[in-house]
Symmetry: C2
């Protein structure tokens, strides 16, 4: 993400730049304050299983919106948006295999496609930064480190698989403050699910994340783990639906919601 | 505390049993649901310094009430109570030295005595237990382990000294939940101030607490530390006021407030 120079002041402008093919980069640093979402698109046949899966796994899969079949505008998140074109980059999966990473999916669209918009940790990161908690991967301009765990998601229908977590190193007192802050964002993964003892959730080497980039940890810091919106991609690889479309990691759907609208308490 | 058999159903009954000399034990297990408080009594000359000290150190010294000079009934906490007789056991300190542990202080009372009632972690422990978080020292029937730290209180007037913390071992996910629960109790120490890395706050051996009793820690647990109402006693030893009266550790002033009245959020 270090190479991103382009900055948008409104989500609409960023979506239009994606639609025209002008912007194909990572969204995290390209715009501030607007809620970004993970995307999972499934044919209707598989969509009900996934809806149940998300309901049973709200920490990794907090649903911000679910469209009707064939609908490509999640109106409650962004009027006049188009999920076929408004993300910088997509991933197309067949039988659990990644087969393409196009910048739009108009040619792949089906009338039975149901789209799931899932909360993303970028939302609480801005709240942490405002509270003076450093976020290492943002400081370094890299993607957050993510790890497969030995925690299994609650299965639903044909979906099953491991939970993926994102990790942010911080001091113990920052970790306590981060629990308080992120508890106020239940719709974007909420509070951490683990901290301090990575081996306990099956992570043997923090230096080699399964997704994203490694970040250094200081001697006075502990690793803090949040449920991660990349979990559905790990579950797709395991559950092998015939066809799935997702966002490409870091290339999110940028909504018109403001991050601060998602707080509670 | 394992020897306590007597149980009171209302705080008034427990206070009257202290007043008559019938009850001289530890209060924690003797009654449930009523807010218990730490007590610090100082002559007026030193009271203003301590008031400022508490204001600057709200985590270890959350004030539930402060009396007028000579007043021995903290009316907002307990009508008709008498701070001279209604605690099971007191400590009398001269020049920072503990000189006596009487069961009442009527003979020591002075017209210029100002009493400080300070929140106690017993309040949030019941909320943790109700939430399914085990509290080791309660399971074992011993006093909570407490440690002097290398964290200094913010000085005020003639008062200065180290922060004392209480420690509860728990799994990482229980620790996260405990942060959420205790954040809702700001008037009884609130969220933990540290976790996971005891050496960072100057604790070299968890097995030898400076106050209270040691408790075993399981392999899958981390130590979680809260600011502790015993801090004033450590500060008294350091700051050496001519005369101070406190409760004896574990023998608290039991108020008519219910623990659940102290929650926020």
């Amino acid at each position: 993400m270090g190479e991103i120079k382009q900055t948008f002041s409104h989500s609409k402008d960023l979506r239009l730049a994606c639609r025209s093919g002008e912007f194909t980069g990572q969204t995290s640093a390209a715009i501030k304050g607007f809620t970004q979402a993970n995307l999972v698109i499934l044919p209707e046949d598989w969509a009900n299983d996934f809806l149940l899966f998300a309901q049973r796994n709200p920490k990794p899969c907090p649903l911000l919106a679910v469209t009707n079949p064939g609908e490509f505008t999640p109106k409650t998140l962004a009027e006049n948006s188009d999920l076929r074109t408004d993300l910088p980059r997509y991933r197309i999966w067949k039988q659990g295999e990644l087969i393409a990473e196009p910048t739009e999916i108009s040619d792949h669209w089906q009338d039975d496609f149901v789209s799931f918009l899932i909360g993303c940790s970028f939302t609480f990161e801005s709240a942490m930064l405002r509270a003076g908690i450093p976020v290492r991967h943002i400081e370094l301009g890299v993607n957050v480190p993510m790890y497969l765990t030995n925690l299994q998601c609650e299965p639903a229908g044909r979906f099953r698989g491991p939970q993926v977590v994102s990790m942010r190193p911080m001091t113990p007192s920052q970790a306590i403050h981060a629990v308080q802050i992120t508890s106020r964002f239940p719709s974007v993964h909420g509070a951490p699910i683990h901290l301090g003892l990575p081996a306990q959730i099956g992570i043997v080497d923090l230096g080699t994340p399964d997704f994203g980039d490694p970040v250094p940890m200081k001697e006075n810091e502990i690793p803090v783990f949040w449920a991660c919106g990349v979990t559905p991609q790990a579950v797709i690889q395991k559950s092998k639906p015939p066809l799935v479309v997702t966002h490409s990691p870091g290339s999110m759907f940028v909504t018109d919601l403001k991050d601060d609208e998602l707080t509670v308490g």
